[in-house]
Every structure is written in structure tokens, then in C-alpha cells.
Symmetry: C2
Subunit: 428 residues, 2 copies
């Protein structure tokens, strides 16, 4: 049985949506893990049954994007669901196998008054997600929210509205099949940005805002939200090659960090090289990465060591504050560890930064001094994501320090409450 | 040796203060626990040495408040330091004995690629505290920040500016004595509110805002801050007396929750009583609490059961949304557990709410369904604070759900970073 697709509208009562989400969140918080897993599997089945409708809606979004002049490669990367449905279904089903953090109790104590105190992990309540393109995010976040007992209000990109509404119909069919309120997953079916602003002020009904998109989206959320926002996903990532590194072994790490998926946030943006080895090592970097199509932006000292290399040009003043999202790599010679740390503190987005060295003391200094969500010693920055770090799921990568830092999985969608049990105990 | 007191000024360069705080935070993050404890003890010694100066400045603030017509009892409760210095010194010294959360490592894993992953607890960086009156907060927050390796920017109330600047001089003397940068503890020495607004936008340099004050301060911070804010400290607290409670034993718990410290946030505001026992129990509540000076605001059904009692009046429409901060208690009859939960969901500030019952199933339903920082079964709501719950310190009580919920102690002033160690390991 297929649910009717929701149609886009221009008049939306966001506070009413919020109140319904809050009520649905109370219902979800009372579910057992088995009930939540059954709902997740019902959603997978509904997505499978709805696939023709979903792909038809998705084709409509793609055609509109192409007609509007969008780069077809971009459309394929950011909108196209056809090649992704099998992966989406697999990922949804795998969420049912993950451990449920909700209900876990910890920090038990019995106080001198005889009261028992503990903390219990509970859902946050209602999540708000604001994202661009990539309609698979609709399913990702909805299912991870459901698994953790949270209701969710989604607002996707205007270029994927039809895809998202078709996915929503499937999500609702799955919820209904499982006997759960469809208000648990709601979607702001309008491309009007004033609803984004309204959503960001709905602190009575939304407990956390998860933006998934570029830095302008994050900045907009930070500046306008009265709800806590998970800032993240922007990675200006560094590797520092120390004079005591095994240079032969550095090359494949740098190659991997830069070229494996150049458009993702944990890809390498800037390579810092100790001056003692720069003359030897920088030409090797250019020779090793150049064939993969990498071009280089080099500051003056690095440029002087690379004169004549076709792929190398002078770095401009903003180049070290740019997340390349492509096959460009910044190069800089530093006088040593202190200058490397200082450069990273000034230019990093606190996502993923690493040192390559055989010197444990320098490594430890670097790991402590660099204030990033993930700090690396002798490894590629590409490991900063939920699946690479063994979390089994990922909602976002936080680069702020409160609540969650780095890849956010299920536990990061929960809070904890204090439970205090006495025997009619007054406070002394 | 006494440090010169800082003088109030009207031109403050907040971004420059922020940059200095950031640099000081980097320095504090590299300290050992022993170094931080030595600095805490140096501050205690400096506060002791500075006491005559501090009390002279405090007398000036008190005299100004009295001259402005402030209630002398309020001045004594909120400004006067004379009776508190011994307690402040004791509390500072006790912070040196608390366990240091910074550096603790957890969540160790070795992944199939051979990389080692762990998380390490680290300081947040720079804290911002905005508070009203109570100059002891200046010392509390500065010392807890120092213990956790955080720099802090403080902005206290305008009615305690001289007290706070005298305390700051002592804090700086202690830092200097310990060889630490005085930029680790900075104070916005102006009563101009535009600096509060500027401070709330300084997300480049401040990682967390801790407001300590009334609901209007929290609302102002929530609406204007681009930095994560810890909302809390406002408690509209409920106890629900179920039909299956031991009524004789409920009376002292209610008495304790309402009268022990009526002006604090965990004091009881509203008593909900099951209809099956209301006719018997409500008159006993009035008789038991009346002699302590408690007056009652009763909704219609409760009022009808208490007709003629002098201390009882009809509850108005906003009375159940009022944090009384005094000897007033709201009374309401409910039809049972569901209505009690529904009332609490509508009116609670998600601080501290409890059930009194002998029925474990009802208690468990209540503990799950009530979405508050602290939920109680057969105990007084007065236990919601850091010292009562054995935390040894308290920065604030959070009623929001992200990062920290309930009493915040040292660990809540920290974050965690991911540390990934490989052997020149690329991501497969």
C-alpha cells in the first residue's frame, strides 16, 4: 500500500508542526528498542515499495536542475538517487542492527541520605535538520532520529523538493505500518526561506538544529537560531610533515588524504613541511600527486623550491583559508613544530589535522596543542567519519566543542536525565 | 604583594580581550593537574591577603545599593561578601582537591586498518560568564574554569562592579604568583550592556556562554548569542502526590521542598494531588505548611476543598507558569497520573519534578514521561544541585538537553577530541 505523496504548499503553520512533533517525540520516547527496530525495517520495506515513485520524482528534480543550467556532473553527484537506492535500503536496514543508546543507565551512586542517584540516556526530543541537495539525507536523518526515539522536522534543498516528498511518503507509510504517528517525521514542504528562519526560532519545540551544507548555511544557522546548532562539516584540513618523518611513507598518506575523495570535508587542504626537509620533499610531493591531477598553491618559500613545476602557482592571501573541495593543495614551509601549530590554529576549521613524524614527543605536543575535533599522528585525515571510525552511522561531523565533537552517531542524538529515588527523603 | 585593582573603563576592545583569552586558554590547556592545583591554592592565598580591599570595595557597592533604595535584606543576600569570605576561601581550596577531568582517555579502539582511535578529554577553551549580583560567582566560575584548563571572560552585575574588580585583582595576583597569564581570567569592567551583546557574538574566541541570573537574562542570551548558551537555573518545580502515596510521609517532603530555601531554583512551586485523596490530603498540606508562612494558590477543584482557609486564594491563569522564589505554593487536583504528566509537560521548566507514590509502575511511567533534568521518586526536589548530588562543585544548573543537563560540575566544562594514531596509514 502506497501513501499519497505530500504536495508542496506555500502556507505552513510551523508552531503547529512543532507541537505535533513534540507530541510524537513523547510517543517515540516510550518505545522499546524492538518497536523502534520494527519501524526502521518497515520504513526500509516502504522505501523499496515506493522506489518507482521516488525515482520518478527524482527524475523530475534532475530534469529541472539540468534545464536550469546546473552542471550534469553536479546533478549526478548531489541529486540523482537511481544509483543510490540499493545503498539507502542497505543503510536503513543496518540501522536496525545498531545498539540503541536510549535507556542506558550510568553514574549510579547512593548518597549518605540514602537516596539513589543515576543518569539515564534519553532521546533529545525533536531534531531539526536543514540540508541542501543530497535527498538521501532525508532518509539518513529520519531513520537515525527514529532509532534514538526522536521526532524530526526536516527542511531539504529546493532543488530536491519532489524527491524529498516522495521519500517522505515512503517514510510515512513505514511509520503507519509500524503503528507509529507520522508526525514523528515531518517535512517543511516549501522552498520559502522564511520558514527556515521560523524553524530556527522554534526553541519551544525543537531541541537541536543539524545543518548539513556549506559554510553559509552554518553561518546563517549560528546567527539566527535560538536553538542549539551543531556547527560542522567544514574542513580546512592540514598535515604537517616533520623533519623526523619517514618521507617515503608520507607520500601515500598525503596522496590518500588529498585525492581519495577530494570533495569531502576530511580531504587534505594544506600541507605544511619542515624547512629542513622541504627542498628534498616538496618536489617529491608534486611529482607524486601531480599525476592524479593535483594542482598546488605554494607560499613564497615553497614556491621558490618548486620553480618551474607547471602545476604549482603562488598562493594568494586567502588560499590558506579556503576549503578546496577539489584537487588543489596548499603548500607551506614552516620553521618547525611551533610554526606548524600556529598556522593550524589560525587557519584550521577545527575538523581534522595531523602530524607525520617519528618523534613521539613532537607528536604528543601536536596532538595536545591542535584544537581540532580529530587530531592525527601518522595517518590520513580521511578517517574522520562515522563509518571509518566504527560508529556504524553518522548524522553529521561536529567541529564545535559542546555536546558532540567529530562524527556524530546515535549517542550524540540523546541526552541524559538524572533520576533520584528516595524513601520520602527530605534534603538535610 | 597586592595587585593594583583594575579600574572601570568605558572603552573596551572585546575582540582583543577574546584573542588574549584564546592564547591564555592554549597555555592553560598544556598545564598539569599539579600546576593547576598550585594556581588554585595561590588564588586562595591571594584572596585571603586581599580580603580587606575586597570588603572595602564590597561595602562601597552595598552603600550604593542601599542609597539607591534597594531592600537591605536583598543587599545582604545578594551583594554582601563579609559573611561569605571564609566560605569562599574554603570552596576555592576544595577545588584543588577535586579530580581533574582533563586528560582522561576513553573509547579506545583498534580498527581493522591498524589505526588506534581514542578520545581524550580536553578543556573547552574559553568560557564566557554573564551574571547578576552575587560577586562570589566571580570566584566560583574563575576557579572552576582554571581547574579545567579554560580561560574565562566574566561580566558581572553593575551593582557589584567594585566588589568584582577587587576580587579580580586577587585572582590576578594568584595567577601571577603561580606564573600563569592573567589573561586567563578577564573581566568586562563596564556596566554598558552593549558589551554583553558584543560578547555574545564573539564565537571566534568564546566557546560557551554561562548565564547566571533570571529568565530575562537567559532569554536575552538565547536570542542574541552566536555562541552555545547553557540555559538553566529557572525552576518551576512540581511534586505529584499519587493516590498510592504514604500521605503521612509526603508532608515532610513537601515541607522540605517548599520551605527549606524558598528562593532557590529547586524549590517546589506546584503541588499536584490525585483526586482520590485530595479531599483528605489538601487540608493536611495547608495545616502542615501554613505555620511556616506558606500561602497557597489553588485552582478551582483544590480551592473548593479548602474553602475558608485564610492562606488559600484562587490561582490566576499565570500562576502555574510562575517560579515563586518565595513561600507561595500552587495547588491543583488532577484526575490521575496522565493529567499530572500533562500538566508538568505544559508548565515545567524541565528543572526538577517528582512523584510521591508506592506504585513502582506509576513511578517508572512518571520518571520516563517527564522530560526534566532531574526526575524524582519519593524525594524532595531540593536535591538538584552539585553539592547535594555529590559533584563537589557547581557552575550552573542546565535545563537544556545538549552537552550538559542538570547540575554542571568540572566535566561539563570540558570537551573531548578524537586522537587517531597510525603507521603512515591511508584510508582503504
Amino acid at each position: 500500500m502506497l501513501a499519497a505523496p505530500v504536495t508542496p504548499t506555500t502556507e505552513i503553520d510551523l508552531p503547529a508542526m512543532g507541537a505535533r512533533a513534540r507530541a510524537a517525540g513523547y510517543a517515540l520516547a516510550a518505545l522499546t528498542t524492538a518497536q523502534k527496530n520494527a519501524a526502521v525495517l518497515a520504513i526500509a520495506a516502504a522505501l523499496e515499495a515506493h522506489t518507482p515513485h521516488i525515482l520518478a520524482a527524482n527524475a523530475r528534480d534532475m530534469a529541472a536542475a539540468i534545464a536550469a543550467g546546473t552542471d550534469p556532473l553536479w546533478v549526478r553527484d548531489r541529486i540523482d538517487l537511481a544509483q543510490r537506492m540499493a545503498g539507502i535500503l542497505h543503510d536503513v536496514r543496518s540501522v536496525a542492527t545498531l545498539a540503541d543508546p536510549v535507556g542506558h543507565e550510568f553514574a549510579h551512586q547512593t548518597l549518605p541520605t540514602g537516596i539513589h542517584v543515576k543518569k539515564r540516556r534519553v532521546p533529545l526530543g525533536v531534531l531539526g535538520a536543514i540540508y541542501e541537495s543530497r535527498p538521501n539525507v532525508t532518509v539518513d536523518i529520519a531513520v537515525l532520529a527514529l532509532k534514538t526515539g526522536n521526532a524530526v522536522i526536516l527542511r531539504g534543498g529546493s532543488d530536491t523538493l519532489h524527491s524529498n516528498l516522495a521519500l517522505l511518503a515512503a517514510l510515512h507509510a513505514g511509520l503507519a505500518q509500524a503503528g507509529l504517528p507520522t508526525d514523528a517525521i515531518q517535512y517543511i514542504a516549501s522552498t520559502d526561506r522564511r520558514y527556515v528562519l521560523q524553524m530556527l526560532k522554534l526553541h519551544q519545540f525543537i531541541d537541536m538544529i543539524i545543518p548539513r551544507g556549506g559554510s553559509s548555511l552554518h553561518t546563517f544557522c549560528r546567527e539566527n537560531s535560538t536553538i542549539p546548532v551543531i556547527i560542522g562539516g567544514i574542513g580546512i584540513c592540514h598535515l604537517y610533515v616533520d623533519e623526523h618523518a619517514r618521507l617515503d611513507d608520507c607520500l601515500p598518506v598525503i596522496h590518500n588524504a588529498k585525492t581519495q575523495r577530494p570533495a569531502v570535508c576530511n580531504a587534505l587542504d594544506t600541507l605544511l613541511v619542515h624547512e629542513a626537509i622541504a627542498a628534498e620533499f616538496l618536489p617529491r610531493v608534486v611529482a607524486h600527486l601531480g599525476p592524479a591531477g593535483v594542482v598546488f598553491k605554494a607560499e613564497a618559500r615553497a614556491l621558490a623550491l618548486l620553480s618551474g613545476a607547471a602545476a604549482v602557482s603562488a598562493a594568494g592571501p586567502e588560499d590558506f583559508d579556503t576549503e578546496w573541495m577539489g584537487l588543489t593543495l596548499g603548500l607551506k614551509v614552516v620553521s618547525g613544530l611551533d610554526e606548524a601549530i600556529d598556522h593550524i590554529r589560525r587557519h584550521s576549521t577545527q575538523h581534522s589535522d595531523g602530524i607525520l613524524t617519528e618523534d613521539p614527543a613532537r607528536a604528543e605536543t601536536f596532538l595536545n596543542a591542535v584544537d581540532s575535533a580529530a587530531v592525527y599522528w601518522n595517518a590520513s585525515t580521511r578517517f574522520t567519519d562515522g563509518s571509518a571510525l566504527g560508529l556504524g552511522a553518522e548524522v553529521a561531523i561536529s567541529t564545535q566543542k559542546m555536546h558532540a565533537r567529530g562524527p556524530m552517531a546515535l549517542e550524540e542524538l540523546t541526552s541524559a536525565k538524572w533520576i533520584i529515588v528516595g524513601d520520602y527523603t527530605p534534603r538535610p
